[in-house]
């Protein structure tokens, strides 16, 4: 069943609008970062932190939009898809590595195996990401 939103707004418009929001946030962040060099006041610092969070959120919404609405024929889609998979895979590897030494032996064996396999997967996805990026440049 198709999402009712897709019938009202063209998919490309959703992606473009999220990209525009992201670009605006980046510009604002750049501007306040420059201001921070001259006026390092608590107010400017607070606004900088707020904008950094907003930019990250805008980046996340843009990535989600590509994954949800982008065309799989489009190289950008695959770059975004593999980046997302790599991010999540790395989070698992990091969390498991951090916990592993403190775990009882029974858990450690399994966790270490999971870490190794996940690293292989991340490696594969990184290879695919590189291929997609090379295709985008070509």
């Amino acid at each position: 069943m198709s999402d009712p939103r897709s019938r009202l707004i063209p998919r490309e418009s959703i992606i473009t609008s999220r990209l525009l929001v992201l670009q605006s946030k980046r510009l604002m962040l750049d501007a306040i970062e420059r201001r921070l060099d001259s006026w390092n006041t608590p107010d400017v610092k607070r606004r900088f932190e707020e904008l950094r969070g907003e930019t990250e959120a805008a980046q996340d919404r843009y990535r989600r939009a590509i994954l949800e609405w982008g065309s799989t024929e489009d190289i950008d889609y695959w770059v975004m898809a593999y980046s997302r998979l790599i991010d999540k895979g790395n989070v698992i590897v990091k969390r498991m590595r951090e916990a592993n030494l403190a775990l009882p032996p029974a858990e450690r064996y399994q966790v270490s195996a999971d870490i190794e396999v996940m690293e292989h997967l991340v490696e594969d996805w990184t290879g695919s990401l590189r291929k997609s990026m090379a295709a985008a440049v070509a």
């Binding site: 998979l85 009882p104 858990e107 195996a113 999971d114 292989h120 594969d124």
Partner: protein, 186 residues
Amino acid sequence: MTAGVPSIQRGIITELERELSELPGEDLNTSALPEVAGWISIYEELALVLRSVISRADGNPDAVELKRNLLWIDQRLAAWRDRHAELAGVVIDPKNHTLTYAGISLRLTRREADLLDFLLRHPRRPFTSKQLATLAWQNSRLSDAQVRTYIMRLRTRLQEVGLGHVITVERNRGYGINAASGNGSE
């Protein structure tokens, strides 16, 4: 590359079994429960992204490899869900809907057992009444009030075995489980 995952895994386990058992700094009393709950959430997110990509990429050559990846991730997810329930010390017999915790058994209704089993297998995540009705009971016609009644009734029953606080209520987000609060490890 990932087609060889099971053999890689077997080799690694044997090798690590030998090496890791001798590592210093071991703390046998550390509970793995909160960690396992965290991993389940991340595996779920990863599986969600993979499913979304695969559903859209049918026919694309990458989809075949991604399906293999998803298969492994789903297997690990299922294994960690089992382990989480095991670590929580809660055993639910699906046939006669009996819950056993700390040596005490409790007879639940089918709905109560299904609900508790579902929440234990999906820790650290709140579910709305609608989601619980659909995912735990496959019955989307249950009203929010009905689900709330089942939850409250189950919480009261769980107090009998010292698990009164295991089901958590998050305002505007739904119901979840904190299995660690049941065994005193958090």
